[in-house]
């Protein structure tokens, strides 16, 4: 019987893809089998439009312990027999439909990826993007997402240590909710996700399987937003208590030494978990889904195989060790059920009781067609690129008033309103809490620390996807440099519109290439990640928004640096520039341009060679104990960076450098590769010598002191006033 278009639409497969399935199977798939293909060949599981591009990302580093994509998350060696496991993932579509549960289960999912590898989750970060807060719907989404993250993350006892939040009308109907989790594991305790060994048992642990989240992978992740308003039941519901117990039970079960492999149940539920874990070893599996504990009666095999019920884990053990492992789950009052076993025939065979309901070759399920399109530069770029920044009139508004407006702009303003709702201290490792350039966690039992941050800039990527993505990588690593950490690895979350459109494909391809070029320059691999495509509403795609999560290492955590100005008389220096340029070109894509001129235009730029040198110098100067403070010069430009260091330190700044010409560009331009640092007066010559040796330009800006923030001829404001604008900005936008 020929399959209907409606059926194919429901599982988001094309007619050609269906025909390819029939050809490779040599028969028509039944409806369960077709559903399994829909999931496995979805963008979410199969990376149809992105896989060929993702191969371009550098993924080599002597510290890497697993190949990207081969396991649930990337793993980096940090010495002392320890490794860091990390990954970032999107939950954009579920959060758009139901912000509280969407964001909560986004946290739950990424945490499972981490402890499935045997690592204890030690940190969460979130990169969030919403439409402007003056619209009620965006405020609701924002509030719901923050509450969801708070509810889930706080309950499981994993500190939420950082991230970013940004607002733009580009995300109004399509918020971006990217969650990152970081875990710590002793290298020799790491577990693989590869199920092998004929006869080994597949044990399903955790929550019962219900009817929630069916078609989450094929549906939500492959459809544009307005199509899915009708699909509310596809959003999963989280149970953070179950997750917490599952974390402890799985880590304790590992202590038995009997666990051969572990794989969490995420997108596409049992289907992808079983298929992916046996695919890694070239094995097969026989499953009897009649055994899977369910939440309700009457569920069909289709529903059981495709349910995305949360807080479930698949564990592989040999028959003789079944009891020992299940005893641990019993101790934690978790249900554990043998649902099948590993075979060697390369097939996934699903039984419901005695009847065989599906039997598919694993190699076909995991080998979707891969698409490569010819990208075409989006039409809008002609206009944004030809915008004449030099012709912008100087603002009539006073520089002081502009600075206060920028400081209270929600992208720049203090995010305490958010992170005080997240437990950022539990596990007692948080040395640098949210609010710094990067979070710093100590690694107990060593003197080391790790630094973590997330970065993305949709505005830059919209204007130039290649350069914007390169800047995102550079800025993430620069944030690490500002606390004194050497970048070790990145994880990426690629948020884009419909990749089947040539202009979106162009953005995706350019961003991937931009990430690759910056990674190569900085010598940092991308070790894991996720793509979220089809983020659009009524044919309008979101800004191309690659988000980078970055991991850095501090050999001596005591040496970490902060953004706060410290002592009266310290000299303030700008690294990365020999002068404060007043070139209007630096206003391209700036917050200033958006806030003051209501324009998103121009062409951002970055010199990666300079970037590398500036970061090296900053790390070296921190390592040598020279720097009293270091703060990235980013959104809002130099004036904002200086003001933030004043507010953080509760102390003033006396500028000594006159800024002439285009003061708007000098104060608020966003030229890259610049870091504002402060040094004790006797440290200045040492810093200057070091900079000279490393070929990094620098310029003295003034000194720390008093209670006033002043720049000659341009502004003089009490630090308290700056602080009030910065601290109150987000709250004001929400009221």
């Amino acid at each position: 019987m020929p399959v209907s278009k409606e059926t194919l639409d429901e599982i988001a497969l094309s007619r050609a893809e269906y025909e390819a399935i029939v050809e490779r199977l040599g028969r028509e798939p039944n409806s369960l089998e077709l559903g399994m293909f829909g999931s496995m060949w979805s963008e979410h599981c199969g990376y149809k439009h992105s896989k060929l591009l993702l191969k371009r990302l550098p993924s080599k580093s002597p510290r890497m312990l697993v190949t990207p994509g081969a396991e649930n998350a990337g793993v980096v060696d940090i010495g002392d027999g320890l490794a860091i496991v990390m990954k970032i993932e999107s939950h954009n579509h579920p959060s758009a439909v139901e912000p509280f549960q969407g964001a909560a289960t986004g946290v739950g999912g990424i945490v499972r990826d981490i402890f499935a590898m045997g690592a204890r989750p030690i940190a969460l970060l979130n990169s969030l993007r919403f439409g402007p807060l003056d619209e009620a719907q965006n405020r609701n989404l924002f509030g719901g997402v923050v509450r969801g993250i708070s509810w889930y993350g706080n309950c499981i006892g994993v500190p939420d240590v950082g991230g970013e939040v940004s607002f733009s009308s580009s995300y109004s109907n399509n918020p971006l909710i990217n969650a990152m989790c970081v875990g710590l594991v002793e290298k020799d305790r790491m577990v693989r996700a590869s199920a092998s060994g004929k006869g080994n048992l597949l044990i399903l642990v955790g929550a019962d399987t219900g009817r929630d989240g069916i078609h989450g992978a094929s549906g939500l992740a492959s459809r544009t937003f307005e199509e899915e308003r009708e699909m509310r039941p596809t959003v999963q519901v989280g149970n953070p208590f179950m997750e917490k117990v599952l974390i402890e039970a799985c880590l304790e079960a590992l202590d038995t030494g009997h666990i051969l492999a572990m794989q969490d149940l995420g997108a596409a539920g049992l289907t992808s978990t079983i298929v992916e874990s046996v695919a890694r070893s070239g094995s097969g599996a026989i499953i009897n889904i009649g055994r899977a504990p369910r939440r309700e009666e009457g569920m069909t095999p289709y529903e059981v195989m495709l349910s995305e019920s949360q807080e479930r884990m698949l564990v592989v053990v040999s028959g003789e060790n079944e009891e020992a492992v299940r005893q641990v789950f019993d101790k934690w009052d978790l249900e554990s059920t043998v649902i099948g076993e590993v075979t060697e025939d390369g097939l996934v065979s699903i039984y419901d009781g005695d009847s065989l309901v599906a039997s598919l070759p694993v190699d076909v399920l995991t080998d979707p067609p891969l698409y490569s399109l010819q990208g075409v530069m989006p039409a809008y770029m002609e206009e944004t690129r030809s915008f004449d920044l030099q012709a912008l009139p100087l603002p009539t508004e006073k520089p002081e008033s502009i600075l206060l407006r920028l400081l209270s702009f929600p992208d720049i303003a203090d995010k305490e309103w958010i992170f005080r709702q997240y437990d950022h201290q539990v596990q007692t490792n948080t040395l640098q809490a949210p609010g710094g350039d990067a979070a710093v966690l100590r690694i107990k039992g060593t003197g080391k620390g790790i630094a973590l941050t997330t970065d993305g800039n949709g505005r830059y990527c919209y204007l130039d996807p290649f350069v914007g993505a390169a800047i995102a990588v550079a800025e993430a690593c620069r944030n690490l440099a500002c606390v004194g950490a050497e970048p070790l690895a990145l994880t990426d979350c690629l948020n884009f519109g419909n990749p089947e459109r040539p202009d979106v494909y162009y953005q995706l391809e350019q961003c991937v290439d931009g990430i690759a070029s910056a990674c190569e320059a900085l010598g940092v691999p991308v070790i894991s990640g996720n793509v979220s495509l089809y983020n659009e509403t009524r044919g309008v795609a979101i800004w191309p928004t690659p988000v980078l999560g970055a991991l850095g290492l501090l050999e001596d955590a005591e040496k970490r640096c902060t953004t706060a100005f410290k002592d009266e008389g310290d000299v303030v220096v700008l690294l990365g520039a020999a002068e404060v340029s007043d070139d209007a070109q630096s206003l391209a894509g700036s917050v200033f341009l958006e806030v003051v001129h209501e324009k998103v235009a121009g062409v951002p730029s970055i010199d990666l060679e300079l970037e590398v040198k500036v970061q090296c110098l900053c790390r070296r100067a921190i390592e040598d104990g020279l720097l009293r403070s270091a703060h990235d010069c980013a959104d809002g430009g130099l004036a904002v960076s200086l003001a933030e260091s004043c507010v953080a330190g509760g102390i003033g700044f006396v500028g000594s450098l006159p800024l002439g010409g285009r003061w708007d560009a000098a104060l608020f331009g966003e030229a890259q590769s610049r870091i504002v640092v402060s040094v004790a007066p006797d440290g200045l010559p040492v810093l200057e010598k070091l900079a000279l040796e490393q070929g990094v330009p620098l310029v003295q800006l003034g000194s720390v002191g008093g209670a006033i923030f002043s720049i000659p001829q341009l502004m003089s404001l009490p630090v308290d006033e700056l602080g009030a604008a910065w601290k109150g900005g987000l709250k004001k936008a929400l009221d």
Binding site: D333, V426, T430
Partner: protein, 230 residues
Amino acid sequence: MRFGIVVFPGTWSDGDCYHVVKSVLGQDARYVWHKDRDVSGLDCLILPGGFSYGDYLRTGAIARFSPVMDEVERFADRGGLVIGICNGFQILCEAGLLPGVLTRNDHVQFRCQWVDLRVENPSTQFTSECRQGQVLSIPISHGEGNYYADPDTLASLNANGQVVFRYCNPQGETTTDANPNGSLENIAGIINERGNVLGMMPHPERCCEEALGGTDGRFIFESILQMVAV
């Protein structure tokens, strides 16, 4: 001395308490699983923070029925020291070992932040290293720390010196602004009548090392060590 750290499903400050007791204070410690009844050889029991059973029903409402709670009660009856932190405080209230109840924060948000506490009673076994009126800086991390007790209970808590800590500003004034959750009379920690069971919402185990931003939590742990040494 030997600490027992009680672990319920959903507890998450167990590791933090263990770290402080073992690695910072150099004392002995072991975990006590909530289904176990063996608390022998222990001098002080800690009921740590977390979300026991997810706290979906009412904080601490299910945990109080765990087998270990019978032993906690007997241990307290024998005069053993018991300290409930955050969720542990909520469980002690539910179990009737401390009076009153912790309800939803008045602003209905979770709060993780540093707060100042005024020491109201420095003559307890948990505060002997503090001065009367001393201001301690200790983090909170909870969604339900809004202490309530009926007027009679409140009067007797005050009369007996059972209110041990109140939220205050850095100057030691118990203002409304300094109250992070709406607690009655800014109450942050109380003790039972006998003086051997303390419940407090703030987390002293989070501030025993300079690297974490402060060490005021040590006043409480070191007071306990003094008492047992005597």
